[in-house]
């Protein structure tokens, strides 16, 4: 029996706020990847986007990080990383992936005898170095189509070099999104589609709406996160207006100064 390839899953997103559904993505992805036999999932990373992303209603990164940390306290394999949120400007997904991949590779190269970092369990049964794949929901695949949001080279790198694990949600059809993109279609072998049959969509947008209206979100997020939200009075009518007239940073940044591809 050939050894499984060790794998770390990276989820980038607003996590505004983190919900049970976000955490479920990791669990579903791990199950699926283990079932198909090729991989051994050794770690999971939640990487909240920085405030410079400019998305409407985005509360401060420090809060989103704190909430994710509380939510993941009960998990022994998924952890929060604040590197992306700490960068001075919005960071392209590929750059975040390259950063984490470099870090994971370095950890691996420094030997399994040492204490592993918070995001990697010991991978005693592996002979190969760990891979990093982007974990996302099906709606994320559709963002590749939005003009100006992604550079073609970056889509190539994310799908081709790294790979995607995409968990389908409700009525969305990830197969169609892959089909409608030449780049994604070319790398279909590197795109793992996971079906969530137990339909439990908890959209963070709806959670914020409920919070604004003073409605309960218990059982959709961990209690510790709900407590934090109330303590800090996050998600009000005002917070939703933040960045209302601001252009999403990727749309402005990438026309100014496109990030180099790996080949350059």
């Amino acid at each position: 029996m050939s050894a499984r390839i060790p794998l770390v899953l990276l989820a980038c997103g607003s996590f505004n706020p983190i919900t049970n559904q976000h955490m479920r993505l990791f669990e579903l992805a791990r199950d699926h990847l283990h079932q198909i036999g090729q991989f051994q999932v050794v770690g999971g990373i939640v990487s909240p986007v920085s405030d410079s992303y400019g998305k409407q209603g985005l509360v401060l990164a420090k809060h989103r990080i704190a909430m994710a940390r509380l939510a993941l306290q009960g998990s022994d394999w998924v952890a929060v990383d604040d590197w992306e949120s700490q960068q001075p400007d919005w960071t392209e997904t590929v750059v975040t992936m390259r950063y984490h991949y470099g870090r994971i590779l370095k950890q691996y190269q420094e030997g399994t005898g040492k204490d592993s970092g918070p995001t990697t369990n010991s991978h005693h049964l592996t002979s190969s170095s760990p891979r990093l794949k982007l974990l996302c929901g099906a709606d994320f695949l559709d963002t590749f189509k939005v003009p100006g949001l992604w550079l073609d080279d970056h889509v190539e790198e994310v799908a081709g070099h790294f790979g995607l694990v995409c968990v389908s949600r409700g009525g969305l059809e990830p197969e169609r999104a892959v089909h409608e993109s030449d780049t994604l279609s070319r790398h279909w072998r590197n795109i793992f589609l996971v079906r969530e049959w137990v339909r439990n969509e908890t959209s963070a947008t709806e959670v914020r709406r409920a919070l604004r209206r003073g409605l309960s979100v218990k059982y959709l997020l961990p209690d510790s996160v709900i407590k934090y939200i109330h303590q800090h009075n996050l998600y009000t009518g005002d917070s939703e207006l933040k960045n209302k007239d601001v252009l999403l940073r990727p749309l402005t940044k990438q026309t100014e100064m496109p990030v180099k591809t790996l080949d350059d």
């Binding site: 049970n20 559904q21 955490m23 479920r24 669990e27 579903l28 791990r30 199950d31 009960g74 409700g170 049959w197 137990v198 339909r199 439990n200 969509e201 908890t202 959209s203 709806e206 959670v207 709406r209 409920a210 409605l215 309960s216 979100v217 218990k218 059982y219 959709l220 209690d223």
Partner: protein
């Protein structure tokens, strides 16, 4: 409205809870928000009443486990409680009977609390007496506490399944008590009410609550996932997931329980005379 003018409501959810999920718990939260939003009600308690093993539903595991899991799940709630009475009855108990049982308890508790206010006590006595008269679907006067059945749209629509419910039970549940029905699809629920004489008659007692935020987590799907060794984390509270693992519940074998047995209500109600 002054707090004392608000009508007290206790929400009762009957079901298999096989197992309890975050969606069950969320139903209570949604119902409470909705009722209190009308400005007429204050929801003072939620009761989870797991069905007894005598129900004979396929895949229904022992009541003691289902009750224990529900207790673990409601540990962090200050208003939702588990009641084991129904689960402990040797035979299956009709929902209307369960409601009568809890309503009696509610009235007794209320009387014990208000012994000082004699006027109120007299009203409560009258209410209790009227309640004992099976021919009266009295409408509630003043602010006596109300017991309402909390359910999903599937239960509402199950009223249409032949022999599953006695006609007079449905009339009692919606006439005397009231229903709070949580659904993603308001149109179907309203249509169903519209097409049923008894439901239409008591439509003022039926509250249809839209769930906008999340889809149903069907316990059937959860059991399927468990049978296949798939994760159910974050669909149920963590302590419940642990409990299931510790006790090795929900396997292909447990799913076969009662496979050749007829559901208790259908056994009881088939035949021309159903009362």
């Amino acid at each position: 409205m002054e707090p004392q003018d608000l009508t007290k409501v206790v929400l009762l959810a009957c079901g298999s809870f096989n197992p309890i999920t975050n969606m069950h718990l969320r139903m209570f939260e949604l119902a409470r928000d909705y009722l209190e939003d009308t400005g007429q009600y204050i929801v003072v308690r939620g009761i989870i009443s797991a069905v007894g093993d005598g129900y004979k539903k396929k895949g229904l595991i022992e009541a003691c486990h289902r009750v224990d899991m529900a207790r673990l799940a409601t540990d962090t709630s200050d208003w939702i409680k588990v009641d084991a009475w129904e689960s402990q009855q040797p035979e299956w108990v009709e929902t209307a009977k369960v409601m009568r049982h809890h309503y009696k308890e509610l009235m007794t508790a209320e009387q014990n609390n208000d012994y000082v206010d004699t006027a109120k006590k007299r009203r409560l006595d009258e209410t209790k007496q009227a309640f004992e008269d099976p021919s009266s679907y009295h409408t509630r006067r003043d602010n006596g506490p109300q017991l309402k059945l909390l359910c999903g749209a599937d239960v509402l629509e199950s009223f249409g399944v032949p022999n599953l419910w006695k006609h007079e039970d449905i009339a009692e549940i919606v006439g005397r008590y009231g229903l709070v029905c949580i659904t993603r699809n308001g149109c179907d629920a309203h249509k169903f009410i519209h097409q049923s004489e008894v439901l239409w008659k008591h439509r003022k007692n039926i509250h249809v609550v839209r769930e906008w935020v999340t889809n149903e987590i069907s316990a059937t799907h959860v059991r399927r996932a468990l049978c296949r060794g798939q994760t159910v984390r974050y669909l149920l509270p963590d302590p419940v997931v642990s409990y299931i693992q510790e006790h090795g519940l929900y396997s292909a074998e447990s799913e076969q329980k009662n496979a050749d047995v007829i559901l208790a209500p259908l056994q009881r109600h088939t035949g021309p005379s159903s009362s």
